[in-house]
Symmetry: C2
């Protein structure tokens, strides 16, 4: 397993990250937001998303990468290797941000990837396999309720390609209409052009903040992800008769809002009953119609997220939630007008040889590291369907994410970039996945 000479030539001291530039880029990118700083809100195909995409493409060009975009706006920046016929090694993440979130989630893995390329170029490294930076379209489900839209499509999801033809956002704007606004004139038949064949990439890597407190608590610099928890999301709707909040007496009511409140608490109960710390469940969206103080809710809409590293255990929680929804509807005489499992993805495992390459890189850089599970999902979950996959985590402040307080120090980011760069270099020289 001796690495070839050109890999070891990357001595830790020769690998210097331009921290100032990376921090400036993070700060500049965060200004493309629909809510005031320190919060960031950058929603798929919005004006701010378009500006941010332009910013990323410019950085890729400045790094000397040749840039292309696919039909839905996944952006690829390639550094041609000396053997361009071989499958490339890819890395990347997303830059969309849910409402009122922070500036590091996803962003670190896109700007960090470009900086890893810059760093390898500065160090004089020449890749054999091409290296590719990917910025994925809509990792967050904010606008169309579909998480990892870009990578899911890259992984060849026919289901998604078909669903997108009918998909609309909360303002009833179609996916195609929104894309057109952002400059992507998608024809239905172009969607399958986005699909990548299995084997298109030799390996896929993603650098990301941990979004949990473990690395910070334990003072460890690098997390090496061995598996990504399996997420599922469910849309639920209850309907009752509504009516005037003063005039309809309590026994005559069938309040869709109270049904939703009961189900939210039932989700928590079933998750806790699983007995495993790894089971989580969240009601992040709960909306009442008509939403007036003097009107009994006639409709309620919930969106439930539940995840586990054990797919079977997670699916059993979903079944219990479904049973509760049925029971609540019956007891409260409301109609369960929707119980739709939007997605119910299997967990993904990192490739053994990539885990190994990341460990070697961290050791080479003398950085403390540990194997861990990703409880958040990432584009890597879908890239794993078409490519060997690995993820690098760095510590973030108190594990905060999806809120303005999200923070990662530039030193921790630089450590992540170096591990990424070394791993990319190592894999770009590898003959087959499993060798180094």
């Amino acid at each position: 397993t001796d690495p070839p000479h050109s890999f070891f030539s990357l001595s830790p001291s020769s690998l210097s990250v331009d921290k100032e530039s990376v921090q400036r880029q993070i700060d500049e990118l965060s200004t493309f937001s629909d809510t005031p700083a320190p919060s960031v809100t950058r929603v798929l195909y919005s004006e701010k998303d378009v500006l941010a995409r332009r910013y990323i493409k410019k950085l890729m060009e400045q790094a000397g990468l040749s840039v292309r975009e696919d039909a839905v706006g996944n952006i690829f920046g390639q550094w041609s290797g000396s053997e361009p016929a071989l499958a490339a090694v890819a890395t990347g993440s997303h830059i969309d941000a849910i409402p009122y979130s922070g500036k590091y989630d996803g962003v670190v893995g896109v700007l960090g990837a470009v900086e890893a390329i810059n760093l390898l170029k500065r160090s004089g490294f020449q890749p054999k396999r091409s290296l590719e930076v990917i910025m994925f379209t809509s990792e967050e489900p904010t606008r169309f309720g579909i998480g990892c839209l870009g990578s899911r499509l890259l992984s060849g999801s026919e289901t998604l390609a078909n669903a997108l033809k009918e998909t609309v956002d909360g303002q009833n704007i179609s996916f195609f209409g929104a894309a057109k606004f952002a400059g992507y004139n998608i024809h239905e038949e172009h969607l399958s052009n986005v699909f990548l064949k299995k084997g298109s990439y030799f390996a896929f890597l993603e650098l990301h903040i941990e979004q949990g407190p473990v690395l910070e608590d334990e003072g460890v610099s690098i997390g090496i992800v061995t598996a990504i928890a399996a997420p599922a999301s469910i849309n639920v709707e209850f309907e009752g008769n509504g009516g005037h909040a003063g005039a309809v007496l309590m026994p005559a009511r069938n309040d869709a809002g109270l049904a939703a409140a009961e189900l939210a608490l039932a989700v928590e109960k079933h998750v806790l009953d699983s007995g495993s710390i790894d089971t989580v469940g969240t009601v992040g969206i709960l909306e009442l119609h008509p939403g007036a103080i003097n009107s009994i809710p006639s409709k309620s809409h919930l969106e439930i997220d539940t995840r586990d590293i054990d797919e079977k255990r997670r699916n059993s929680v979903i079944e219990k939630i479904h049973q509760s929804a049925i029971d609540i509807a019956k007891n409260r005489r409301v109609k369960l007008s929707e119980f739709q499992i939007i997605n119910q993805d299997p967990p993904a495992l990192s490739e053994k040889s990539i885990i190994n390459a990341m460990e070697v890189a961290a050791q080479h850089l003398n950085l403390s590291h540990k194997l861990m599970i990703s409880r958040a999902y990432h584009d890597s979950l879908f890239m794993a369907r078409i490519s060997p996959m690995g993820m690098i985590f760095i510590p973030c402040y108190k594990g905060f994410s999806h809120k303005p307080e999200e923070y990662a120090s530039i030193d921790d980011i630089a450590n992540g970039v170096k591990v990424l760069a070394l791993t990319l270099a190592k894999l770009s020289l590898a003959t087959y996945c499993g060798a180094a």
Copy 2:
């Protein structure tokens, strides 16, 4: 108690309501809406509200009334009596409509009042005291969270006049800014000009759909209101740490959304525990922040409405809700960042002599009638603070209100208009309230 000749000259057969016109007016008014038919949404000072106000003023002018508006847009149409120095007899209601509601709530009492005037004119009646039709500004709390804004101000609420200086809507538009959009350029010091002195009116009457099922169920044509239930509204906010729905494990959470769900169910419990059918409580608004499927709610906002005909019992429910909010916040380690009682009004009693005049009118018209309580509040609740008050209810379909299915038949509306007209006539001839 013999009524004067000019009252008895109004024989039932001479009192014919122009049902076709009234129905057409109801239908026309319902088209000024921000949501599609059959729903109606007409929010204070919106473009549609401005158009609807113009429509009402035109109808008043066509009825020969002299029209004036006060600073906040309460609209008054006067028919001068033969003794204009005497306090006038007034009647009216509102035309604003909460989101996705119906076309009869309030509207019947405004269009019905104008038709009562037309009918009295057609019959040759000449009032002694002037008769006045009032269209109140914002009976519904939709936009600024303040119910009966216009009548509350007419009743001399200094508290409201002061609060309005700081009041903003959900989009952070100030009350004054919204009013300006609608053409009302209000100066702070003009607000107290809206106040009416006690005794400004000899009597105030309001015609309204029941918004409950009693009259329809029992086949009774006219409800004569003896008291209006006392409403209270409360704003609550919980705050937690939020975070990523995948990454933050269950024991580390303090979910502001689940705190809200628990409080909504606690409201129901305390209301049911009161032991009286007359106690009601509703959570009509429950909002989560940031409102993303993969984000733990870091903030929740509830608006609670609770009412009773017994003020003390209702206030005890409010105390229990407050205690629950405190307990839930403690157990869930969230912050109870707001528990604000927005209003906590006392119930209002109808004037004995006006009840009597309404009963006489119904008998004279040979209409079945019954004494009843209003569980919904109305502008009459506030007019009762400055004037003797009475209310006339008519049946409505299944008791539906605040939703598109709200309906009252034109025959029932015509019955209500006739009782209103006769009562207005009777009171306009009365020397002091209590005589006929």
